[in-house]
Amino acid sequence: MKIIVPVKRVVDYNVKVRVKSDGSGIETAGVKMSMNPFDEIAVEEAVRLKEKGVATEIIAVSMGVPQCAETIRTALAMGADRGILVESDADLQPLAVAKLLKAIVDQEQPQLVILGKQAIDDDMSATGQMLAALLGWAQGTFASKISIEGETATVTREVDGGLETVDLKLPAIVTTDLRLNEPRYASLPNIMKARKKPIANMKPADLGVDVTPRLTVIKVSEPPKRKAGQKVGSVAELVSKLRTEAKVI
């Protein structure tokens, strides 16, 4: 089966982000960018399914500025076979991304699309579910285990009270949670090989999708800062302060 893995270019998770002083957004100029960590898990899972002989081809898709090609290269170095870059300067929100992905799915006809459960920049946690809706497919979100048997994907999901297992009729959408796997580091030979793998370029218009944002960001502000409090010298002092000063116990 063919698997599509969408990968998003985001501010690296180790970067301490700053709100721009004019309140228009987050400072991204000169900041290290990486693949969204949940998308790395998605790529890894697709590669493992290929290594097991379940998947035959993996297509990594990214959308946005031209540099998203680097994010695709990372996926190719991890083991994806080819890439598709949808280039756009627009603020691509989950609805637009889901529509673009649907158009690509219609062309490529994969049996499985594996996405990260959330992007660590906008924290929307929406694209996978929206793609599933547009395609009329089943969805297995927040997956910590995936197994494919015939026409069924069995997905164990991380839910609020523990774990839940569901059977999905294929083709289906899966979104990854942290415990699904530990993504590999690409080896140098694989990074070299990835340079030769093809990346197709297209524009939203080529896919017939209107990507006009539905949400306008009016402003971005800094959250209220917490101040460091006091150090206490002993457990007894801590308990006493929690009782008499903070009055929380």
Partner: protein, 311 residues
């Protein structure tokens, strides 16, 4: 303008995050709520008592058991025309269902709001809560998930809503519930607890979480963990507090052996009082703690249990 809130319930009533979603909806106008699944008698009764709710929609159908995304979204799609806003709490269920509903209606969902400005404008945290974005939606209808920690839940009792059974049409048969392994705990749920005590990598193994238990018992606290402790297998996934785990804002949060990565702080920094116990005095957790104790947790935890026991 009327909102519809998808409720989650258990044997004890309507879950607290759902009651927070009702509180957010109350800021927008009239509120109807939806209970869906099987054996809805108790849930319907509890929903009708929520203050501010005028109508309870009851959708009883085996396909809706466990609130699986595909049928639940189909149901909300059918109910949507009568409402200006559809809401649910930012829980595993809300996150799973609401974006699916939004796409079916060609709408951009507004995820995990922490504030309501007006009917079109909402505040939501981005970048692990390092920014608060004010966003205005141009959509005709809004699909929203609500960050429970940011809205005081409505009370469990005090209202008297009418109830109405809704007819459930054909449900998509795309997925099937197989099983659930839910943790059985006498303790309060993490997202509803007044006190939370969490352990991190410093706990060293799962066995050592037993040191936390007598303290949690004494304080009526829920037990949580950092991602590092969950990834290392000390405790199961449902314990995780952080950007991609549970967001909590208890009266008292005690972080034990947690260094305080940004991703963890994102899940707990709205707590009223934060206590940090860590042997590394440079640990970033101390920068957000109201009370910091630099100590080895293996001596501090038994001492803390004894101190709480004593008085």
């Amino acid at each position: 303008m009327t909102s519809l809130v998808l409720l989650e319930y258990d044997a004890t009533g309507i879950k607290q995050p759902s009651r927070s979603a009702v509180a957010a909806a109350t800021a927008l106008g009239d509120v109807h709520v939806l209970v869906a699944g099987i054996d809805l008698g108790a849930a319907t009764e509890a929903a009708a008592k929520l203050p501010g709710v005028t109508k309870v929609l009851v959708a009883e159908n085996a396909a809706l058991d466990h609130l699986m995304a595909e049928p639940t979204a189909a149901l909300l799609l059918a109910l949507a025309p009568a409402y200006s806003h559809l809401l649910a709490a930012t829980t595993a269920v809300g996150k799973n269902v609401m974006p699916r509903v939004a796409a079916l209606l060609d709408l951009q969902p507004i995820s995990d709001i922490s504030g309501v400005e007006d009917a079109d404008t909402f505040i939501r945290p981005i970048y692990a809560g390092n920014g608060l974005a004010t966003v205005k939606s141009s959509d005709t209808k809004k699909i929203i998930t609500v960050r429970a920690a940011s809205f005081d839940p409505v009370a469990a009792e005090g209202g008297s809503a009418t109830t109405e059974n809704v007819t459930v049409g054909d449900m998509p048969a795309l997925s099937k519930f197989v099983s659930a392994e839910l943790s059985k705990s006498e303790r309060p749920e993490l997202t509803a607890a007044r006190v939370v005590i969490s352990g991190g990598r410093g706990m060293q193994n799962g066995e050592n979480f037993k040191l936390i238990e007598p303290i949690a018992d004494k304080l009526g606290a829920a037990v949580g963990a950092s991602r590092a402790a969950v990834d290392a297998g000390f405790v199961p996934n449902e314990f995780q507090v952080g950007q991609t785990g549970k967001i909590v804002a208890p009266e008292l949060y005690i972080a034990v052996g947690i260094s305080g990565a940004i991703q963890h702080l994102a899940g707990m920094k709205d707590s009223k009082v934060i206590v940090a116990i860590n042997k590394d005095e440079e640990a970033p957790i101390f920068q957000v703690a109201d009370y910091g104790l630099v100590a080895d947790l293996f001596t501090a935890l038994p001492e803390l249990a004894a101190e709480l026991e004593r008085s």
